[in-house]
Subunit: 204 residues, 2 copies
């Protein structure tokens, strides 16, 4: 898109800032900005304030590093949850995705990324040492590695697996297989192959 | 999408506010919000402030109703522009689109919408009276109606045309025809038909 001549510096400013958001180009940013003019001034104020408040006041759970408003997140603070199982995930969105399934009742540990030498992210940039410490100090039975099935995820899972080799915990990973609703015909051979190797009893 | 359980009220708040923007759903809003955490705090502050500043301090040109930072917009304030021609557009984005072509050197008049009985927008909700007044009081030769070629746009153009019938001005409208790069085969018959009826000399 050709660089536009903006009739107002305020408009140019808000378009520039909005277009820094992921997958928001200048044309979309302009559309978003102009949409603000059609709504009440207090609504734009609420939006602006919520962005500032969120970034300034958000806290990270001191135990699992999930985001929260207090020192301990709701999951860690919930005494009804199974404190002996820790699910290791890459980021906060993964926690929310797993919570949405209502199938997991243990605690979490958010790494804040995965090992990726290409991006300069090593184990020390992630919350791995604090995970090892939790396993050592808390009464943990199982560590469930729920990382994405790609090279970085697998590398990180293997690194953690090695680090926890001496600890007396069961280390598990989420099942790989054919997605519900997918057809075998179009599944990639690696996934289909794994789903056969790791086949489960039908009644299960 | 299922209503998500958010780990933080601040996050929920910013997602709710962001998802009020056009074509931003809750999933996109969550992705945008989490992307803020990966960037510097001052960047989120700049974004939030720019939204608030834009909505609170933006002004409308007292002459043409384009947005601007002062009482008179840059176009109206530019003495090099042809003050005898007024281009009537629906909104601010149209002004920017026309300015981008560098083919128009006159002034503008932003209606702030089009006549649409379905949406409860009548002539009195638009800047039509102020347009008539400009034609009456300023030294205007031509009013160029650059409204969108749909029912509301055509209705509005016809209404303005009728209102200006007594004034001694040339009333024009932008040419309808085959877009540059389009093929005749796929053009709709209305557009193709108009482009034949309104054919122009080849050398022009």
């Amino acid at each position: 898109m050709i660089q536009q001549e903006f009739p107002s510096r305020l408009l140019e400013n808000v378009v520039t800032e909005l277009s820094k958001l992921p997958s928001v180009g200048r044309r979309t940013a302009l559309r978003l900005a102009l949409s603000l003019l059609k709504r009440e001034e207090r609504e734009s104020k609420a939006l602006g304030e919520s962005i500032i408040q969120f970034r300034s006041n958000i806290k990270y759970c001191t135990r699992c590093h999930n985001i929260c408003d207090t020192d301990l997140c709701d999951v860690c603070a919930d005494t009804n949850r199974d404190g002996k199982t820790i699910c290791v995930v890459e980021n906060i969105a993964d926690v929310m995705a797993i919570e949405n399934t209502s199938q997991y009742h243990g605690l979490y540990h958010v790494l804040g990324g995965v090992i990726s030498p290409m991006d300069g992210v090593g184990p020390n940039e992630l919350e791995i040492a604090s995970l090892i410490q939790r396993v050592d100090t808390e009464d943990v039975n199982e560590v469930l590695l729920a990382l994405n099935p790609n090279m970085e995820g697998d590398t990180t899972a293997f690194y953690i697996y090695k680090k926890l080799a001496g600890a007396n915990v069961r280390i598990t990973t989420i099942a790989r297989g054919i997605s519900v609703g997918d057809s075998l015909e179009y599944a990639d051979e690696l996934t289909l192959g794994r789903s056969i190797v790791n086949r489960i009893d039908f009644a299960k």
